[in-house]
Symmetry: C2
Subunit: 343 residues, 2 copies
């Protein structure tokens, strides 16, 4: 039997534990996995593009454990009452190939994306960063704000979104957490005085959410909304202002902001910074860009983390996903044995 | 909410309906999908190879529906009490990216593999075929025998396996279905007088289960055990004796028997035969080889079939896999709303 964390269990667990606490401790799992980056079997995710959106499978594995996530991206979904991104994920035992753990990952992806952003910013943003500008007040925004407050000690928040209802929702949700937000009327106003800029919009186009003239020295840009071929947020000139950091280069070349520049545009993979093999931030004036698209290893870390946290609690239930005949070669017998009682 | 068919439900449904009946009617779904082959988004499956075995994801989609299967292949599993192959699969709505259906597929894969073999043999084997030789008496063998009895009217069965316990299991299971089997002592003896030869062994090596000198004119070879790089069953000379038919050429070049021959070795995709675009069997003397590796479209058909058959019955239950906040941009609110009741 595999363990299963359904939506109700994930939501209740996240509320019980608190998103900020989860994000902070999930970073330990993320850093553990980024430090053993070379031990992972890595591949760009497998995307199925349609005129409505994209459905992706994101597998990765170590010598002992395998994981994958199913995730969709449908920017037109909210207008029809659906979420842009939904997801679920699985862990499996590499030794026998059996799935061991299944979990909803819509909520979990929101937590892991915020945790990844905060982990990277902790190493790349100026240590004295106090002001976070958020462009985009959608699904990911609250998780980002809480992550940066908890992990980097951000105390001042600014937001800009074309959707005023989304902005109001964001302000309301954060106010309940004792976070005050300055609502602005443009991207330019939003990033005034910001130490860190997070772009998290969902348009599936080459949008220019942020232009180079708005970027001042020393800023860390956390670009998470551009994550698909043809879906970017930054004016390409921004990429030349400083140093660009990525998760897994082959996937980011396809999906990230750097799809707008030459295929040999220099980037640094974050795990190299974490291991001290490549420099991260080298001066207070340096502009750093995390061109984040979301990589399978992050989902693997998030799944491992939840699996360990809910083990033995009521948040996990058993799911009957894998047939287990007494004689492993007698699968037919399993079917035959079920027949007489019904005839 | 998505619909879910767990192992118990799948086994009970298969027993209730009967494997032969399921295989026969699943072929209608398979043929429907093979006929619209060009409408599918196709890619070779994504395999994660380890020293223990392989874990694969097999996605495909039409303009309306997406499906994928998770499946492992661990030839050393039975010796440790586990099955060689286990699987589960998912259907999703391409329009919003939401999963709609989750099912165990260990049992279902056994049924769809047998259904695919029978569908292809119905078009490629001699219409007067009466004798089936099965090399390999493992998990797939009973499903193959029942499929060929039902769909092609095979009346005489011969088997050979190095594992006598597996052979005894096969004989016992088939006897309960009124099928008598001739147990033989070698591959050579097994294929004597056979009109159709099915090879379904599980060794993850370039084994030579069948040699060219054993192949008589007019035989149809249903080669289903060679389905991984480095895992083949046929002496390569056999491929030159007649015409080779495949599911999806790019995947079969990687995984099938034809990995043993030149990358431009001529093959025919089965859907072309089904649509009358390419010849299948053209004479009673012709030797035909179905170099089957199992392709995502077959799992898509099998999932569609089960989904339609169990809709509204007790065999399907609801599973809480996708978070559905009232405001699709307010995922955080879903977590926040769960908090007060527990504080």
């Amino acid at each position: 039997m595999a363990q299963f964390v359904d939506v109700r269990a994930m939501v209740t667990w996240a509320a019980d534990r608190g998103p900020e606490e989860i994000i902070a401790s999930m970073i330990d799992y993320l850093e553990e996995d980024f430090r053993r980056w070379e031990a992972f079997d890595k591949t760009p995710r497998v995307a199925s593009h349609t005129r409505f959106g994209v459905i992706e499978l994101m597998p990765t594995s170590t010598e002992d454990e395998y994981g994958f996530k199913y995730v969709n991206g449908h920017p037109s979904n909210p207008a029809r009452g659906y979420q842009t991104v939904t997801a679920f994920g699985v862990l499996a035992d590499v030794h026998n190939g059996y799935p061991t753990f299944l979990a909803e990952m819509t909520v979990l992806t929101a937590l892991r994306t915020a945790a990844t952003s905060a982990m990277v910013a902790k190493h790349l943003a100026r240590p004295d960063s106090k002001v976070l500008a958020l462009i985009g007040a959608g699904t990911q925004s609250e998780f980002q704000a809480l992550a940066f407050r908890r992990v980097l000690g951000i105390s001042s928040f600014r937001v800009w979104d074309t959707d005023t209802a989304a902005t109001e929702k964001f302000v309301r949700n954060l106010a309940a957490n004792g976070v005050e937000i300055v609502v602005t009327d443009s991207a330019a106003e939003c990033v005034e005085g910001a130490d860190i800029i997070t772009t998290c919009t969902a348009d599936k186009t080459n949008a220019t959410i942020l232009t180079a003239d708005l970027i001042r020295a020393g800023v860390h840009i956390n670009a998470i909304g551009g994550d698909c071929p043809g879906k970017t947020e930054l004016e390409p000139e921004i990429l030349g202002l400083g140093d660009v950091f990525v998760e897994y280069t082959p996937q980011t070349r396809i999906e990230g902001e750097i799809q707008q520049v030459a295929p040999d545009f220099p980037v640094t993979e974050f795990w190299e910074v974490l291991l001290g093999r490549r420099p991260g931030r080298t001066s207070p004036e340096q502009i750093t860009v995390f061109d984040s698209v979301g990589f399978a290893v992050e989902d693997f870390s998030a799944l491992r983390y939840v699996r360990d946290m809910v083990a033995g609690t009521d948040f996990a239930e058993e799911i009957d996903l894998i047939a287990a005949p007494e004689d492993p070669k007698d699968l037919y017998g399993l079917v035959a044995a079920a027949a007489p009682a019904r005839l």
